[in-house]
Assembly symmetry: C2
Homo-oligomer: 208 residues x 2
């Protein structure tokens, strides 16, 4: 009993630590996105949180670690997108619509924006390789959905690799122009982008 | 006569100076794109050209000046695109096709890539404002072409601002993935991208 209590207390302290660590990562992501990775110091992040640099080291060891963890969180969210576009009973174009919709939702968060606004060259080669593998998985999913659609004739003949690159490019560019005091609402962007790309891929009205 | 000779000699020296200055800018653009603006020094650029830093100062005063000049050259090329998509006797969708095709051709050069790979926050506010005005002109052209197409019913109803943002996003993202030892040929990218976006905008086969 007392042991369980102690364990619970520990769990709660760990939870608290984890929450504060997440706050550090979020503040870091926002500052990296706003002013660039190179131009942001651990002091800046501490100031943004009203804590000392000494306190920050309790949660995180280096700027590099913040960057990597931010990107990892982004990629974990992206694995949710993989799951929701995985149902093979749903037609390819519909699954593409879901993928685009959810990816946009994610890329417009601070963690998602990190993936596209920051150059991963600041990371060590190992960490970079890990991130690249995960990014590749999402790209591969979209390419495969396009291939499926070409096979079942719902999608016009095209190069799945380049179509996927165009779609991810348009989405990855969003944080470059929509991080302002008066951003275009997510829902408008999602509606317009899904329509543009689903229409662009669709074989409807295309000369076969 | 002797005066004309002297003037010619001066012109030729100026030309030579201009050529070497362009070589400095090109080397700068390539290094900024490859390793980032912050991480590139004037020494790196001098080394890439096999010249001394002292020689570089004969052509350029600062890293900031190189960045601004690179972006300006990029924008001058982009004004050519404005001209070639200006002919109002050509249907809007066809002019959009031309704009996309030429923009891609340009963004895949080192000067074009500078515009998208580098953050202009490194520039002074005045220079930034000047660049933003020029960028806005291209975006405005595409929006207006989309508006024209919606009016003449060749383009499906959509938000011209967001459609333009999607198209420029896809194109601006190109240097982020196609700067490799084995890049996808420009011509393939241009063919696939124009088809995807012209089909995506077109009212053909779209439920009106």
């Amino acid at each position: 009993m007392s042991n369980a209590k102690w364990n619970n207390a520990v769990a709660s302290r760990e939870e608290q630590h984890e929450q504060k660590r997440l706050a550090v990562l979020e503040a870091g992501a926002k500052l990296f996105n706003d002013q660039g990775y190179e131009r942001t110091s651990l002091d800046d992040i501490a100031s943004a949180l009203n804590i000392t640099k000494r306190t920050i080291y309790y949660y995180i060891q280096s700027k590099d670690e913040i960057l990597f963890e931010c990107m990892k969180i982004g990629l974990e969210l992206s694995s949710k997108i993989l799951a929701s576009s995985a149902d093979r009973t749903v037609p390819p174009l519909e699954r593409i619509r879901i993928l685009i919709d959810e990816y946009i939702n994610w890329i417009l968060t601070d963690f998602g924006a990190c993936m596209t606004l920051l150059r991963v060259s600041a990371l060590s080669p190992e960490r970079r390789a890990e991130l690249n593998r995960s990014k590749f998985t999402l790209d591969e999913r979209l390419r495969n959905l396009i291939r499926e659609g070409i096979e079942d004739k719902s999608i016009r003949p095209c190069d799945p690799r380049l179509a996927s690159a165009a779609i991810f490019g348009a989405m990855n560019w969003l944080p470059h122009w929509n991080r302002s005091d008066n951003p275009v609402p997510n829902s408008n962007i999602r509606a317009e982008f899904t329509e543009l790309f689903v229409t662009g891929l669709s074989s409807n009205g295309h000369d076969l």
